[in-house]
Amino acid sequence: MKELQELADHLINGYADRVAAVTQDLLNKGATPQTILNDGLIAGMTVVGERMRTGEMYLPEVLQSASAMHVSLKILKPHLAKDGVESRGKIMMGTVKGDMHDIGKNLVGIMLEGAGFEVIDLGLNVQPQKFVEAIQTHQPAIIGLSAMLTTTMLNMKTAIEAIAHAGLRSKVKILIGGAPVSQKFADDIGADAYARDAVKAVDKVKELIAA
């Protein structure tokens, strides 16, 4: 459909008003919400992710596209629920205790939503117990832990231990990221995966979900 490409193009350009108008127009013309989501929004955000990876798009532009996607999702949500369409998986994210850096985490969240995942963002400075309670409440498939400081990266281990202590470790996969961490650190603290940037984080999440 020509309009689906139009929707993807407006999304890539970050035109929220046009994205909203085309979304509504497509629904009026009988397109299914799943088609709009997959062939318009996710298709558009896939291009955004690729352009970010190659350096053609920058964070402000990615945020603008993400903002446009949220406008469309707001229109689509009741229709998706009505049709029983589920997300590709529920991902919970948070920056660990003591750490106030959120750009990387937010970017990963945006890219995951753009890839069709449901994202629950616990925010900054998340205490280990809050991760535990949020797992019990939301039952995510994967948790993403973020840290930017060499001091706070150690709190990733504390969070994983708290999750294990609560008997929840086998119920969630754990992905870590942030400038000071590495695959070796992920292995050392018992995380399931490490991602070096937002694009790779999406790939890792897809792998973990498929596994």
Binding site: P60, L63, G98, I103, K184
Partner: protein, 367 residues
């Protein structure tokens, strides 16, 4: 820094500011809040400890000090202090709340500009009132350990500092409230020009353009061109006229910034020229294309190599940097942005050793 050829490659790893604070052995709030010791003193001690060739002691033109900021500790815990800082303006109080952790640098819990319409007039008044005569107060502290400079934030640095919600909100303002941003930029630009002229009367060794938040990891070339570049052109032009060095720090992705600055500004020194994964600079390429104008400072990776690598990893990468950019001077061996607090001392010593041994001029190695 003036692109001469010294007896060897100078070495100045970016230890700002966690390593010097860690070496004091004190809670970080003693340094950042109580100035006991002041961060400048901690820097000088760290320079001596590692045998680094020098450091930069900066005053900051943009932030705090005057007129009459008040502060009060509003929360005390074993691992952090919360401090409210405020200034009275004719438009009401301008205030922020800072968190001072025991073993990390401070961060803003609540920024000054919560609502642009309400709070920006207060900030504008503050900038207009700031007595510029007081900026260069730390001039005498550096002694023989380095040079004295004054830092001026780029527009993005200024806005991220001032804005509630930090960098994410500061970026979103460009598309959520685009009509308000030119006035904010022009207000800052007026302040920058006035501040730079006054600072240069005191003849510092350099003006540092503090551009971490202008990184293309956070911002975009479009924002850089429209909002950061105008101030950088003014500052660098005034520096060039005064014969004072103009030095810019922009971490993360910066390759396009290096090129824009090369073509359109009078900046003399560029750092830290970070390589992937955090940055996008190929040091050899930048040296070849832009080394006739810039002194280059960088770019041993801060996390992969300095923090998590071995001494051998540090030596290998430091030698590669010298090979890439050391030829014919105009290069300072350094690291990417801010070595982490727990960067092993032996890795910093190794970096210094490479400059003092492998970095000797003349370099006759065929590369």
């Amino acid at each position: 820094m003036r692109r001469g050829v010294p007896d060897r490659v100078p070495v100045i790893p970016d230890i700002s500011n966690m390593v010097p604070a860690r070496l004091t052995g004190k809670p970080f709030w003693d340094i950042y809040l109580h100035e006991n010791p002041a961060l400048d003193e901690a820097y000088v001690n760290a320079v001596k400890y590692f045998g680094i060739d020098g450091w930069y002691i900066y005053d900051n033109a943009t932030m705090y000090e005057q007129p009459a900021w008040k502060q009060k500790i509003i929360h005390t815990a074993k691992d952090e202090l919360h401090v409210r800082r405020w200034v009275e303006t004719p438009f009401g109080e301008l205030e922020e709340v800072m968190c001072y952790p025991v073993s990390d640098p401070p961060w803003a819990m609540s920024g000054m500009v919560k609502d642009i319409g309400t709070d920006f007039p207060k900030l504008r008044w503050y900038l207009a009132q700031k007595p510029l005569d007081a900026i260069t107060k730390n001039r005498t502290k550096i002694g023989e350990q380095g040079i004295y400079g004054v830092a001026i934030e780029t527009f993005m640095g200024f806005w991220v500092w001032a804005r509630e919600g930090g960098s994410m909100q500061a970026i979103q303002d460009f598309f959520q409230q685009p009509e308000k941003m030119p006035l904010i930029r022009d207000t800052y630009l007026e302040f920058v020009e006035r501040a730079a002229k006054r600072i240069l009367q005191d003849k510092p060794d350099e003006i540092l353009i503090a551009g971490s938040s202008s990184s293309l990891s956070l911002s975009s070339p479009k924002i850089y061109r429209e909002y950061d570049l105008p101030a950088i052109k003014i500052i660098s032009s005034l520096c060039n006229e005064a014969g004072v060095l103009c030095h810019q720090h922009t971490c993360g992705k910066s390759r396009q910034i290096v090129e824009m600055n090369y073509r359109e500004t009078g900046v003399n020194v560029m750092e830290p020229l970070e390589r992937p994964p955090g940055g996008d600079v190929d040091l050899a390429e930048v040296k070849q294309k832009f080394g006739d104008k810039f002194c280059l400072k960088g770019n041993v990776n801060t996390f992969e190599t300095m923090l998590n690598g071995s001494v051998e990893d540090v030596k290998r990468e430091a030698m590669a940097c010298i090979d890439a950019a050391g030829k014919e001077g105009g290069f300072i061996l350094s690291t990417g942005d801010q070595c982490g607090r727990d960067t092993p001392d032996e890795n910093l010593f190794a970096l210094v050793e490479v400059a003092k041994t492998y970095g000797r001029y003349p370099m006759n190695r065929s590369l």
